[in-house]
């Protein structure tokens, strides 16, 4: 069953066009020219119950706006959104009981209060029973090590400590659906891993539906079951990590140094990606599908003195995907 459904979701912001120069600025003041900027443009996707979906895209792609519409913060300009059967912007308070959210760059807790007081206030706001609250707090402490710092004021916590408190705050009312907007931004590797384990636990053990936005490809690699890519407000990929790797760009490169340096280098079934004198980088073309096969084809044709095989990581794949989208848009 789908926990989240977005159909033709669109959000357009109206702003004033700025004219260049001082005179232009004055003209804009007197006779403003309004322009419409579509941040999210007809995005459709759904998320199954208990699924972890990574919503990815470059900066300014429309990820945060999409999340804000899914959480009821923003009202869509058009389209339909259902979260646990509710329209978030029409039924904000009921929707708030169903979802939890963490915006990594901002805290949702009371800046001047100790984290534990903030959590206690949220317990009251969400009407969590005392026993249930104690049990959840103990679980979060166990997974995130909160008790080391939960008596400190939020303003005195490090980023990693603060986001861990935010995660606990977002889940204290046991929401079925969780939205995480760059939750591990700026964290050190140890805390990042702790948070990833926590998220995995929430999906696998607690059956929560998670929508995650991040620029951290390790996170995507380790957590995401499914990926939705958006750029310029439009969705251009919805599938698994394997499909993404298959669809976008070379997934490996073979770097060789040729014993001789012929004027033209060509190997049937392979693509020459770069050439610098005798050094040539090959990628998959129409024929070879593995590095093993590529190596065989190269050695059959040329004598080589050096060899290196490089498997493209997810960041390369993403870069390829974003560039592909840019070219399509152009």
């Amino acid at each position: 069953m789908d926990a989240i459904i977005a159909r033709d979701l669109t959000k357009t912001f109206h702003t004033i066009a700025r004219r260049p120069g001082f005179v232009g600025g004055l003209k804009s003041l007197v006779a403003p020219a309004r322009i419409a900027k579509t941040a999210v443009d007809g995005v459709s996707f759904s998320v199954r119950e208990g699924e972890l979906l990574a919503l990815l895209g470059p900066n300014g792609a429309g990820k945060s706006t999409t999340i804000k519409m899914l959480t009821g913060i923003l009202v869509p300009t058009s389209g339909e959104v259902r979260v646990a059967g509710l329209e978030p912007h029409r039924d904000r308070e009921r929707n708030a009981r169903t979802i939890g959210a963490v915006f990594g760059q901002r805290t949702q807790l009371w800046w001047d209060l100790p984290a534990r007081d903030s959590l206690a206030i949220l317990r009251d706001i969400f009407d969590v029973e005392a026993e249930e609250y104690r049990r959840r707090l103990a679980e979060f402490d166990d997974l995130l090590g909160l008790s080391e710092f939960w008596d400190s004021r939020i303003r005195h916590l490090s980023l990693g400590q603060r986001v861990r408190c935010d995660l606990a705050a977002a889940l204290i009312h046991d929401p079925k659906i969780v939205f995480l907007d760059e939750p591990t931004i700026g964290m050190d590797v140890v805390v990042k891993e702790q948070v990833r384990e926590f998220l995995r636990h929430q999906v696998e053990q607690r059956g929560r539906t998670v929508v995650l936005t991040t620029h951290d490809m390790t996170e995507v690699n380790r957590l995401a079951e499914r990926i939705v890519l958006i750029n310029h407000g439009r969705l251009f990929f919805d599938g698994s990590l394997t499909e993404l790797r298959r669809q976008f760009g070379a997934t490996w490169q073979v770097h060789v140094t040729l014993a001789d340096a012929p004027a033209d280098v060509a190997v049937p079934g392979l693509r020459v990606l770069r050439r610098d004198g005798p050094r040539v980088a090959f990628g998959p073309g129409d024929g070879a599908t593995s590095t093993h096969e590529a190596l065989r084809l190269i050695i059959e044709r040329y004598a080589i003195t050096d060899l290196a095989i490089e498997e493209n990581d997810l960041e390369d794949v993403m870069r390829e995907a974003y560039l592909h989208r840019e070219q399509m848009t152009a």
């Binding site: 990820k63 945060s64 959480t71 009821g72 979802i99 915006f103 901002r106 949702q108 949220l122 706001i125």
Partner: protein, 264 residues
């Protein structure tokens, strides 16, 4: 209500932990109000019988305005900080909780300045009630209480309207400061001493007259000096309530058009 009290208590405890800051804020609130009182006292002693009102009548008007203002700052005043709440991205967080966003803005922090405001205003108010030549019947006492509440709501309406605008344009903070100055400068005196146009602006554009001037005129028996019908002056608390309800509708509409803060 229990939850509101609990959050307020925690917010108050939080500000108490920064003792020096707490004392400074209380002191500045008190100093601000004392300077207003000193200025009013100088004005009243130099120009007794301002606009046909006895000094004690003007004192009652000024004390009602200051007390309403102090209560407004304590109970509803955080709405004028909406621009900060928006810039910190807190509105987004408020919208993720099953509680009205307006209430959460009011519970965002404890405004310490209000303590100083209230200390001075309450002292002045007690003194004014004792010296003014009014027969304090139960009906008049009841009207005084209702008028104070109406004053809080009238000022709350102005703050809420500005807060609604701040959801979209943080620059409205300057308007808040200017209006606060304006109300401090003119709100403590009988408005009929001003030119007609200014007096009408303070009645029908900015509802300053309904905060304390018109209710004080009702209590001190100065209805004949007013430029508005007596029934309208008597209905001041109701006007305050209606203005506040209208401002809350404006807030609701403005929140629905909220564009968020931060990235896309």
């Amino acid at each position: 209500m229990g939850l509101v009290w609990r959050i307020t208590r925690l917010n108050f405890r939080a500000v108490l932990e920064y003792r020096a800051e707490f004392m400074l804020k209380v002191a500045v609130g008190a100093a601000w109000q004392i300077s207003v009182v000193v200025f009013a006292t100088v004005l009243l002693t130099r120009f007794p019988g301002m606009g046909g009102w006895a000094t004690s009548d003007v004192l009652l008007l000024a004390s009602m305005r200051l007390l309403s203002h102090g209560l407004y700052v304590l109970l509803l005043g955080r709405v004028t900080w909406t621009h900060i709440v928006v810039q910190l991205g807190q509105i987004d967080a408020f919208m993720l909780r099953p509680m009205p966003v307006y209430r959460q803005v009011q519970l965002a922090f404890f405004n310490v300045n209000a303590v100083g405001d209230l200390l001075v205003a309450a002292s002045l108010f007690v003194g004014a009630v004792l010296v003014v030549d009014v027969d304090w019947t139960p009906a008049r006492i009841a009207y005084l209480v209702v008028a104070l509440v109406g004053g809080v709501l009238a000022e709350g309406a102005i703050g809420t309207a500005l807060g609604s605008a701040a959801l979209h344009a943080p620059a409205t903070a300057y308007w808040s400061m200017w209006l606060d100055e304006l109300m401090t400068a003119f709100g403590n005196y009988p408005l009929h001493i001003l030119p007609g146009l200014v007096r009408d602006a303070f009645t029908f554009v900015l509802p300053l007259a309904f905060v304390a001037y018109l209710p004080a005129a009702v209590l001190t028996g100065h209805l004949e000096t007013l430029a508005v019908p007596g029934w309208l002056a008597v209905a001041s608390p109701l006007i305050g309530l209606l203005a506040y309800l209208a401002s809350r509708l404006l807030w609701k509409r403005s929140l629905r058009a909220y564009k968020g803060y931060g990235g896309t």
